[in-house]
Symmetry: C2
Subunit: 375 residues, 2 copies
Amino acid sequence: MTKDENIMHKCIQLSLKGKGNVSPNPLVGCIIVKDGKIIGKGFHKKFGEEHAEANAVADAKNNGFDLTGSDVYVNLEPCSHTGKTLPCSDLLIREKVRKVYVGMKDPFEKVNGRGIKKLRNAGIDVETGILETECRDLNKFFIKFVKEHLPYVTLKIAQSIDGKIALNNYKSQWITGKESRIFVHQLRSEYDVVLIGKNTAKYDNPSLTVREVHGRTPYRIVIDRDSTLPENLKLFTDSDKEKTFVITGTSKKAVTEIYSRNIIKVKEKDQKLVIRDILKKLYAMNVSSVLVEGGANLYSQFVKSDLFDDMYVFIAPKIIGKGISCFSDYEITKLNNAKNLKYIYSKSFNKDLLIYYKNVHRNRTGSGKDHKQES
Amino acid sequence: MTKDENIMHKCIQLSLKGKGNVSPNPLVGCIIVKDGKIIGKGFHKKFGEEHAEANAVADAKNNGFDLTGSDVYVNLEPCSHTGKTLPCSDLLIREKVRKVYVGMKDPFEKVNGRGIKKLRNAGIDVETGILETECRDLNKFFIKFVKEHLPYVTLKIAQSIDGKIALNNYKSQWITGKESRIFVHQLRSEYDVVLIGKNTAKYDNPSLTVREVHGRTPYRIVIDRDSTLPENLKLFTDSDKEKTFVITGTSKKAVTEIYSRNIIKVKEKDQKLVIRDILKKLYAMNVSSVLVEGGANLYSQFVKSDLFDDMYVFIAPKIIGKGISCFSDYEITKLNNAKNLKYIYSKSFNKDLLIYYKNVHRNRTGSGKDHKQES
């Protein structure tokens, strides 16, 4: 790692402190260096509050430093538009910094290179693409949100070696071990929404809260097209019940009769909810990330519609045999038509193995192409 | 690694040159050191030929060395019985070596500590257990063969992420990529037997030869209980057809009518062949290792009978959905009754992931206990 990459890596680490609190904004960390020393640090703490650059400038000034001639490192292009805060590029120009090191260009249409241009027009040197892959990965939720106007969707599956998520009688709890569950709770604390299907709600009665790690519980959304889920589920009765939403179809009158629930109405087709419409509704609610935690029907629909982005598969060292396959409602007639994914990494969690895949989208160029466009 | 472990590691590497040729004997490598220099090396090359120690002694003498006062490293206890060759312990005593470093005790009942005892009684220092875990792993086939009087059984599965080995129409070829296939060909060259079930023979019509690597093709054994497999399969017609055996039941007269096939008759129960009897018959034929390459029925029977030892699972980055599950004929009613395995390691082969598991046997103490007995 070069010196600049090393400082950018620190910006990324710093930005992670905002995890779970900034959505749908990006995670941003900023470090200001002068005469070889770090004089200010800042990160974006919470949606609607100051940007990382503003916090870093304030930090440097609080420490008694003059920013003239300093170097600024930030994982995302400084903004150029007047939003909830003043444009960061204007701020850096005012402070007469010497050079700005940028991890990646901001894909948000109101910025999209304008921040970099403003800085350069003011005579400030700008270097882009420092640890760009890492910076893009850090803000995968944000990038999808602003470019595709849809939330980022991750499938999380806990299965046996033979791909079973439950017995035929729907028994499924604790297929994986404690270490895997801790990782899942960490994920939940970072996603805006955890989404489950009706059978999972009915047979597992999960709470979907964050218990094993310190972090906030996400919005819990359950699909109940015809509004027939029982009222006594944990999701509807526990202390986080205000964070529970129900997605129903538009065709049933039952929907309006359940006053106690937060309802999201979604288009139906062939007696199934339209996945794209679910995601559009969630986008409209400012949701930038969705963790899908089952079951087989819902997983299958995300694969059929090709509307998921990546997948965490936990493989417990067990053989179940007959049971419910994770994609039981998905069907192909030729092996060439199998849904392809890209293996990224695997990691062992005590006895379980986690495999991480990215989706290889069928009919869109998606984030892969974006990446190449970035220089 | 200590100096002694380092030399023992070299013995193991040396022994691997015998892979595929020594069964059911063990893989053994031997290195002789004098005045800090290696003066002789040898390994067991082929079943029925000289042991590693004899080859190493001959090598040292050919090089003009006197072995008096030398140190001998060997991954398996020198033999004490007069078999196809003279006892190695007697040979080392005659050569007046100073000390013998042994990887593991020979579990073969005719040796089983007697070689070490003989050496010690002759005043030669013996140190045991150098890289013992590695030495036991090296000779897992041999250990099972001599202790349990059964061949070592490995299941090799190539599946999609969701545990499917074929579509419902039995289409299955090339689920995994070329790099994975090379590894499988390497495995085949090291096992005595590749075993497949009837549907796999019928629908895949595999050749099961070793093509991607340099090595010998194993015996190819196909299960055909009622002798109805067509004569035109590759296994029955290719240039290795003499290495093909058919396992049939004992109840059908059809068996005796197919003169062109090598037949192994095995007990039946509930219209299925008894797995233990298959393995006993193979043991009687001096088979010490069996690689099971499908399909779902045969895999399921090995899991039901708990008669397999380990498992290689190749996971292709694909989702198949509806299809044939790798253990479709295995069933449990409680999650606690799932077949448990032990995760050992994973390794990526380009786009595929290989996961290696060891069986956790239900009702026998097996190799785990053996291991503890060894000091």
